[in-house]
């Protein structure tokens, strides 16, 4: 399916980087020349409390903002979103559009038979990825879980390019640090930290790439196609 707009809802827990993930996705789409908007939604900031973010990517100017009530893609960053109802919605997939995709960060299946059937009725594809394990394996820290989730949605939908993601990550994590360089005495300390930062950037990007490959392979195998483009041209 090719759509003028791809609406992505990221349901996570505070501290997992769901907000950053949506911002990075939108920044990358913007770099690719698409229209995009991202925004978060959360209560008083608290680790492990529900936190959501939304990324809208399209081929025409986007006005819509706020919670994504009717998403095409839902990403679940943490099993507790499902198992403990840490979501702004019960069930977590309510509002998902027909032909959509649900991406869940979990090493084992979490959905009941009823949930699976309801998603099937809506022709919604279901993809599990062990995103936290992947982050630990590739980046050496579970803090890069959001990178697995970025790679997953990008791999399935191809809504942003890897090159743009690389640029967006540099912009988000690299640029400001460089800009703050001051006196000569501080230069040395900054250089050291910058070296670390560069390493973190490289590892994050590697995590995104690995998840992208896994997700892309799954989408090809299961013939899941959900793209952003001009449906009129595609037809």
């Amino acid at each position: 399916m090719i759509k003028k707009r791809l609406n992505i809802r990221m349901s996570g827990l505070g501290g997992q980087g769901a907000v950053t993930a949506a911002h990075v996705m939108a920044m990358a789409a913007n770099r690719d020349g698409k229209f995009s908007i991202s925004n978060p939604f959360f209560g008083a900031e608290k680790r492990m409390a529900p936190a959501e973010s939304y990324c809208r990517i399209g081929i025409e100017r986007i006005y819509d903002r706020g919670e994504l009530v009717f998403p095409d893609v839902i990403e679940v960053f943490h099993p507790q979103v499902i198992t403990m109802g840490k979501s702004y919605t019960m069930p977590f997939y309510s509002g998902v559009k027909e032909g959509g995709v649900v991406i869940i960060n979990s090493a084992q299946p979490l959905l009941s038979e009823e949930d699976i059937n309801r998603l099937k009725d809506l022709n919604v594809a279901l993809f599990y990825i062990a995103g936290t394990e992947l982050a630990i394996e590739v980046a050496g820290t579970e803090l890069s879980t959001n990178m697995s989730m970025i790679g997953s949605v990008a791999g399935i939908t191809k809504c942003v390019s890897m090159e743009a993601l690389d640029g967006a990550l540099q912009e988000r994590f690299g640029k400001k640090f460089v800009a703050s360089g001051g006196t000569a005495s501080l230069d040395e300390a900054i250089k050291k930290k910058f070296a670390k930062k560069e390493m973190l950037l490289a590892k994050n990007l590697a995590t995104v790439k690995r998840a992208y490959e896994i997700a892309s392979e799954w989408a090809d195998k299961n013939k899941v196609e959900l793209r952003v483009g001009n449906p009129a041209v595609a037809a």
Partner: protein, 403 residues
Amino acid sequence: MAEIKSHIGTQNKKGQTYTDAWEMMHEAPRNPSFYTGSEVIKEALRRASCDVMIAYPITPQSEAAALIGELFAEGYIGDYFRGESEFAVMSQCAGAAFGGARVFTTTAGPGTMRAMENFPMWAGARLPIQMIVTCRGINSPLSIQPDTIEISYLLNTGMLVWHAETAQDFFDWILKGFMVSEEPEVHLPLALCCDGFFVTHTKDVVNLTPADMCLPPYDPYRSPVPCMDMECPPVRMMRDPFIMKSNYISYATHASWQQEIWAAVERSRKHTIKWINGLIDTENTDAEVVIVASGTAVSQGREAIRLLEDEGVRCGLVKVKSLRPWPGEEIREATKNAKHIFVPEFNVTGWLAKEIKATIPNSERVHAGPHVCGGMTMPPEIIASEIKAALGLRSESLAGRGS
């Protein structure tokens, strides 16, 4: 004595060139940037030649307040400090403005309510302070998400009140707002409102003016009232204060000054029209159905109009940019063909619909709604479905959140 030497073309200590405000806003090249609304507030302030910013953190404006702190550290703001509460901040803003400074502050939701006493005081004292209001819920149960009800409390303070739709509006209006506020015949505070989160925390493309250009500095000698004069209106605290109503003069001052504040709001009309290109924007107002909205509700309305177009329903749009001065004549004209006027709002009471009903003939045409409140989102699908229901068209049932 008033300054006779122009600052235009000279440089400030950061090497920015004081530029004619009209030229800077309308002719200078623009640089597209992908920023959050809070970052945009910082970038506007970088170019605003602001003398004093006083901060108190309250979500969702905390980020903007912190970012302007960084700007102060970089040397772009004359002075910056944190008050002990919102009430203190707004009082301190008054002091700084009485002293002849260009003053900026930010607030939101309960903070706005806490500081409320100061706003009519600012207006009465004719202090052209600019206050960013990143709206959020104010009532219990508390919410940090956007709810525009606090704007309704600001409408009768004597402040100018504008409601931005996007971060682009915000960037432009912060800078243009100072120009309108500081006109000698206006010289009133401006509450520049937006829906928190949907503007402050959203990343969007914003076209910025060059960072090496800034507004001309504020000239306090253009104030229509003397700076901190204890003997003249509006202050005159010391001898025979007005509050005593002890003689004819003090009584008459009250009677005339209240009218003068609102006359100044009226006189701001032509400057507001000039700077933000009209008090309203309109699209396709020859249609039978028209959405009238302000803030994020305009954006959601635009998406709803797209959805309706796909189903063959033509719908016009009125974007209300300025609430004070109120665009009564403009709204009457823009809605004269409409059979149905929908007013979607992010608050439970529908204050905008009430204002519109009080403005136009045949007010039964106004459908007050849809409404969301307490920080809920307004999906465009809900607006479209309410319009279709009113037109007697079939609408798919929407199984969204909470259903």
